[in-house]
């Protein structure tokens, strides 16, 4: 129960941010990933930064597309969708030129922006169609 409350609080904090603070944090993580790839080469730093990046963006995506699911399922599906977006945008960038450290960071920034914007769109009901989904399951 304590775990559920803890994760719920994290999710709530990320979602109730009105000033794009967590989107900024996500960009900072991308910067850390870039510094790690270029200079530091530490898996510890990479895993820590990626964990935060995944947490923020998976929460955004999970709440855009799977708001009716249970918290764990929502987070897992959000992570899965994040991985698909990373793959598809990474593939596009690779087809255009290549996937070096800078372009990989660009991929992460694009996905982060996309997740954040989609969440804000859903939150402010800009996309009416997206928010009228009703599941009978």
């Amino acid at each position: 129960m304590r775990n559920k409350i803890a994760f719920g609080k994290v999710e709530e904090t990320v979602l109730h941010d009105k000033n794009f603070l967590f989107t900024m944090l996500s960009y900072i993580m991308v910067l850390l990933v870039f510094i790690n790839v270029s200079v530091v080469h530490s898996p510890v730093m990479g895993i820590a930064a990626s964990f935060l990046y995944f947490l923020i963006n998976a929460i955004f995506l999970g709440n855009v597309f799977f708001e009716k699911e249970a918290p764990l399922s929502r987070f897992m599906l959000g992570s899965l969708l994040l991985i698909v977006f990373l793959g598809l945008i990474g593939l596009t960038v690779m087809m255009i030129y290549n996937l070096d450290a800078i372009r990989s960071a660009i991929v992460l920034c694009i996905v982060s922006t996309l997740s954040s914007l989609m969440y804000k769109m859903t939150e402010y009901s800009i996309s009416i169609e997206l928010t009228t989904n009703t599941s009978h399951v």
């Binding site: 764990l72 897992m76 990474g90 290549n98 070096d100 009978h136």
Partner: protein, 632 residues
């Protein structure tokens, strides 16, 4: 006596494990998982053919006990989320045998994919794989959407994010993806049919009952990634069938597209099912107005879905040098009875009893339950959308059965084994397996309670009710854990060639670290695989011939037959002419375990007589590297 009976019945009506003992069982499970990983790590070997050859003798009993504890937790009153996390850990454990035990994962396609990923990771390749862009734009587009590019892009992005080595990142990529997401999707998919979360959790565990699900989750190759995204698309298709919004439709398209770019087979099956789902939804809308037209539309859609895969295989020749065609060659020499057997039983017709039990029984049980549900129509009364989802899964299952038979009996020169379709079938069967096993477990529990009641009335005529009840209640977890352990044992091959050895990897790393300038290596296919993993496939600065390149094979054979300085110079010049390259250094690698007895000693002594410089010796003198450098 009656009070005692009441007390016993009350206690047994509760889930398999009492809540107070649950934490102890969970702690024990955690300990057993750690022990299993440790035993797996202890089994890691430098020179190995199969995982079972070097597996620690205590591993299988420990794995069985771990699975038993997990099944017991699954049948307990623990929260579904906790159970799911524990299932994920078990799933990861089941899929990392090759990566942990072998020095460089399973040989072949996985290593080639790693070599291609290495090219992207080291910025050697531009505009995707292959290295040299195709002249035809159609072929170039086809290449972009081949699974290897998507996997490389995703793999490299994640590897850079986590800051891990591409070698380990690639080897663990699919086992982790599979281990984490397949149980989650199985859980969610079963939730579409059952409100009972315990059945959904059981389903996430029962995916491991299928050996296909174990083995495909161990290789980091495009088709395995394709299976993961296919399973996701299947879930979102089911969500689309049960919802009215655009969101489910979008997700269905996104994941079907992801499975298509992961692997064409997964993508085509995914889109065939998508077509079927859209038609079923329309059928539901239109059947009241024009039932005949709706039924004809559904039938036509089913036929188109079935024909999508065979047609795609035929038309693949337009963009790729494949020669798949329809033909009756596979039926030649078969008796009428054998042909009928193949039609009815498919791949099970020629299989042994144990193969049928391991590969066919699970999906057969799943199909039987699916048909029963559909026929009884019990769901129909409860919820129309569930019935539609069930109808879709049944038609999808049928589509796969027909496609398998077409590929197996009427098509020749297929680019892959038709058995790859089994994985799709097993994904569809898993939820229904869980339903029937949960039903059996509930029946066993009920029977046990009844027996205890009778025994308490006649206490001197039977064995202790407590012993009997414990035995009955443990029966299902014992059977399930035994089945899962057998599935894991069956899935990993028991015969195999000598895998890439640790000293082969060491040798190619040594060459890469100690060479300044462009070089070419003449070696057997095992050295080529090892080289590809470390420097990338067809890297022009560190070139290893493809194992299927006749030019490379001829040059290596020549080097083996007459290992001398002159042959080496000649081979390097031939390579430079053939590939329009300017390598100045050549290496010739020969190793004892890959040659027939006596051949290794002859090559070594002849090379030394022929003035070839020994560059390095590895693996207790089992591997020699000879070097030649062109002087300015």
């Amino acid at each position: 006596m009656a009070a005692r009976a009441e007390q016993l019945l009350k206690s047994l009506s509760r889930p398999f494990i009492d809540h107070t003992h649950l934490r102890v069982v969970e702690l024990l499970y955690a300990f057993m998982v750690v022990l299993s990983f440790y035993l797996l790590f202890l089994s890691r070997s430098e020179e190995v053919h199969t995982v079972w050859e070097v597996m620690h003798p205590a591993f299988i009993p420990v794995f069985f006990a771990t699975t038993f504890l997990l099944v017991s937790i699954v049948f307990s009153s623990e929260r579904a989320e906790h159970k799911l996390l524990l299932v994920i850990i078990h799933s990861i454990l089941s899929h990392v045998f090759f990566t942990v035990v072998f020095p460089a994962g399973y040989f072949g396609a996985q290593q080639t994919t790693l070599g291609q990923t290495r090219l992207v990771n080291d910025n050697i390749v531009f505009h995707g794989i292959p290295l040299k862009p195709e002249k035809s734009i159609l072929v170039q587009i086809y290449n972009w959407f081949r699974g290897v590019n998507f996997q490389a892009a995703l793999s490299v992005t994640l590897i850079r994010m986590f800051g891990v080595d591409v070698f380990w990142g690639h080897l663990f990529f699919v086992p982790l993806m599979w281990g984490i997401f397949i149980p989650v999707i199985a859980f969610l998919m079963t939730s579409v049919f059952c409100e009972n979360k315990n059945i959904a959790i059981l389903s996430s565990l029962l995916v491991s009952i299928f050996p296909t699900s174990i083995i495909w989750g161990t290789y980091s190759i495009p088709i395995s990634l394709g299976y993961v995204f296919f399973f996701c698309s299947l879930y979102f298709i089911l969500k689309y069938l049960s919802s009215t919004g655009l969101k489910a439709f979008l997700l269905m398209i996104i994941f079907s597209f992801a499975s298509l770019v992961s692997h064409p087979l997964a993508g085509i099956v995914s889109f065939a099912l998508l077509l079927l789902a859209v038609t079923i939804k329309n059928y539901e809308k239109e059947k009241a107005d024009s039932p005949l037209e709706a039924k004809i539309g559904l039938l036509l859609s089913f036929l188109v879905s079935v024909s999508l895969l065979p047609s795609a295989l035929i038309f693949q020749r337009v963009i790729s040098p494949t020669y798949t065609s329809f033909g009756l060659e596979k039926l030649n020499g078969l008796s009428g009875g054998e042909i009928v057997g193949l039609f009815v039983l498919g791949g099970c017709a020629n299989s042994t009893f144990d193969a049928f039990i391991m590969i066919g029984l699970g999906s057969l049980l799943g199909l039987v339950v699916m048909v029963c549900y559909l026929k009884i129509g019990g769901i129909e009364k409860a919820s129309r959308t569930r019935y539609v989802s069930l109808l879709f899964l049944f038609m999808g299952f049928l589509m796969l059965l027909v496609q398998y038979r077409i590929l197996k009996l009427f098509m020749i020169n297929l680019p892959f084994g038709e058995e790859r379709l089994w994985m799709f079938r097993d994904f569809m069967a898993a939820p229904f397996m869980a339903i029937i096993i949960n039903g059996i477990a509930a029946y066993t529990q009920k029977t046990a309670l009844k027996n205890i009641h009778i025994n308490l009335k006649h206490p001197f005529q039977a064995i202790s009710p407590t012993v009997r009840s414990a035995a009955t209640f443990a029966l299902i977890p014992l059977l399930l854990s035994g089945w899962i352990t057998a599935s894991v044992y069956y899935a990993y091959p028991r015969y195999g060639p000598l895998q890439t050895t640790a000293y082969e990897l060491e040798a190619v790393k040594y060459i890469e670290m100690n060479t300044n300038g462009s070089y070419v290596v003449f070696g057997d296919q095992w050295i080529i695989y090892a080289g590809g993993m470390i420097v990338g496939i067809h890297n022009p600065d560190a070139f290893y011939f493809s194992p299927s390149d006749p030019e490379g094979i001829a040059l290596f054979t020549e080097m083996k037959e007459n290992p001398s300085l002159d042959t080496m110079i000649e081979a390097m010049e031939e390579y430079n002419d053939e590939y329009n390259n300017s390598a100045t250094i050549a290496y010739f690698i020969v190793e004892e375990p890959r040659l027939v007895e006596g051949e290794f000693d002859r090559v070594i002594s002849q090379a030394q007589i022929g003035n070839l410089e020994v560059f390095g010796v590895f693996g207790d003198e089992k591997l020699y590297i000879f070097r030649y450098e062109k002087s300015e």
